[in-house]
Amino acid sequence: MKIFFAILLGKLTIFFSRLFNLGNGSTWPGHLAFLINRNFIEDILKKNFQKKIIIISGTNGKTTTVELIKFILGKKGIRVISNEEGANLLNGMASSIIKNCNFFGNFSQEVIVWETDEFNLPLIIKRISPDGVILLNLFRDQLDRYGEVNTIAHRWFNALKEIPNKTKIYLNGDDPQLMFLGKKLKKEKEIYFFGLDQSSMNEKEIPHDADSSFCPICGTKLIYNRIAYSHLGDFFCSRCRFKRETVENFKNKKICYPLSGLFMKYNTHAVILFLMSFFNIEFNFINKNLRLFRPKFGRQEKIKIGRKDGFIFLVKNPASFNQAIKTVIGKEKKEKIDYFLILNDRIPDGRDISWIWDVDFEKLSKAGRIYIAGDRSFEMALRLKYDLIEEKKLTIFNDLKSAINYLSQVRGKRKIYIFPNYSAMLELRKLLVGRKFL
């Protein structure tokens, strides 16, 4: 009965929040369901024990990876439940079930693919014991909320140790922390490593946003044969011989990457390796469908501001910001580019914005105009100033609304690349598309 009432309440919440246009109901229904039944998620999954549950975590790329898997499985006729709007805590997961199940708690989708943040991963895999876990990478992110990279890696290890041996675990083998984790678990667990081929690794030295460039075993500085970005690459330790083992890098395959950027290559490789080994889907089928995938929700998403075409790159930490800048510059080699940077410091972003000082803004020196908005717009401007970006290129706003009003009236059709952090992206979409989504 408890389940029934929890679902009823959840579904009513969804109904009313849609009716009054309060959002899409991706966290509240679950929140209320847990108030009625603390074990709501365990109970529902017990009822649907034959369904496959996949958990995806890591600092960057979770949402896109979930979407990619869902998209390709859809093409195979396999239906998926996911926490769509990046609502990646337990209440978001519960909400995604409430949306899709009947009043008895049964749902028809065969697979659940949930993303969860780095901090909550241990808690979640303990409660739901997944059939597959994909860990994409581990960078510094929201240190004030999540803690430091080493602490997280340690908690991940302890959690993964306890899951059933039949669970398949997919790890980014180019990330020293995750390679270390996989090696320790390998005896008992089924581990798969994905990574990149050396030809995609072109960084010359370890950049300063790297967190894990020291040997996780003996603390010696790792030597990199090649570097992809941040601390990802082909590494080894000269002292204790810890090294990157063979990773699946699809070296001899021509892959149709759906979005540009190295981070997208990693996500795509994770997806292909997972779909091939977990669902036995053929490579050619996956590859053929990859090119049809369209990004959404702030991940290289196209949006109109006045007459300008805007492209949103969600940037939440040094690794994603640096990669976004690199991707844009690589794409628009000849043209002058306009940028719109939006920096907030609200709770979902992490209150600490010091990470912007680990982003390489020198690369924006050839930019056309740079517009800046958000709660901490002037600190962002200061950041650019100290990287010697000319002040006359900057237009700084106190709030997002006035920035958008201004941009809507700017003449000229030049493209604009928009780099918001999380709450800034939600706000931007709300102002431009009309709905906040959470």
Binding site: R140, E148, H208, G219, R351, R383
Partner: protein, 248 residues
């Protein structure tokens, strides 16, 4: 004029955007025609390199990295550092780097990590159950020449530092936790060395502190009074307003 900045363990002790401190020192020196050289001194560099620097900076890190650095400091570099500090070379030590300078650090699991014992304070991490001290922080500096402006930063530390004497503090807490969340002291100061929990990074957020460090570094090096020409600080001031409005 030329300023040589020694940046200690940039590859290990730089988790919280502390690189911004170097950028601030460099920008505000170069704008005034002062030549700047950044000397990165990490595990592989020899301790003698420290002899040549006019200003020292060292940032914070994760526990694991701090262990590696602590081992290295205990060998030779610590002694050189002590000499520089006695010679009044201005230095800024943030968070983990600050903790090194004291007697010891009592880790969350009860292990006692020996500090460099240059100064009389110690740090205790009360365990994983105790809350980390996290958030925006505003303090009043106790350095006479810059004490009329608040210093802003962001703190994030598990350890609580206790000074033998509260007169040794760098600043007084207005909002936030500071050394331990109890006695309103923040950081530590002796001669021209500053130890502080303030990330943010601290120097870009507080340009007058940056200028203060540049000025005394030049004064010690060239043995003459230095008056730095003023710069346009409009963006710096507006950035301060945005955060102060929310915190105070």
């Amino acid at each position: 004029m030329k300023l040589i900045i020694g940046w200690l363990y940039p590859d290990l002790m730089s988790t919280y955007g502390d690189r911004g401190n170097i950028l601030a020192l460099k920008y505000r020196s170069q704008k005034r025609g002062i030549e700047v050289e950044i000397k990165k001194i990490s595990l592989l560099e020899v301790a003698e390199q420290l002899k040549t620097v006019d200003l020292i900076f060292m940032g914070g890190a994760q526990d694991r990295q701090q262990e590696i650095v602590n081992r290295d400091l205990q060998k030779e570099k610590g002694k050189y550092l002590e000499k520089l500090i006695e010679n009044k070379v201005p230095s800024l030590f943030v968070c983990g780097a600050y903790q090194f300078l004291g007697d010891y650090y009592l880790a969350a699991d009860g292990t006692k990590i020996k500090g460099l014992r240059i100064f009389d304070f110690y740090t205790v991490n009360p365990g994983l159950k105790a809350k980390r001290l996290i958030g925006n922080i505003v303090v009043k500096p106790l350095i006479p020449s810059i004490h009329d402006k608040e210093i802003i930063g962001f703190e994030n530390h598990g350890g609580r530092t206790y000074l033998a004497n509260s007169h040794m503090a760098f600043a007084k807490v207005i909002k936030g936790f500071g050394n331990n969340g109890e006695d309103l002291t923040e950081g530590f100061r002796y001669k021209n060395i500053i130890g502080t929990y303030l990330h943010g990074p601290i120097l870009p957020k507080n340009y007058f502190l940056t200028d203060y460090l540049i000025k005394i570094a030049l004064e010690i090096k060239y043995q003459q009074d230095i008056k730095l020409p003023p710069l346009n600080n409009e963006i710096e001031e507006r950035a301060r307003e945005q955060i102060l409005k929310n915190v105070l």
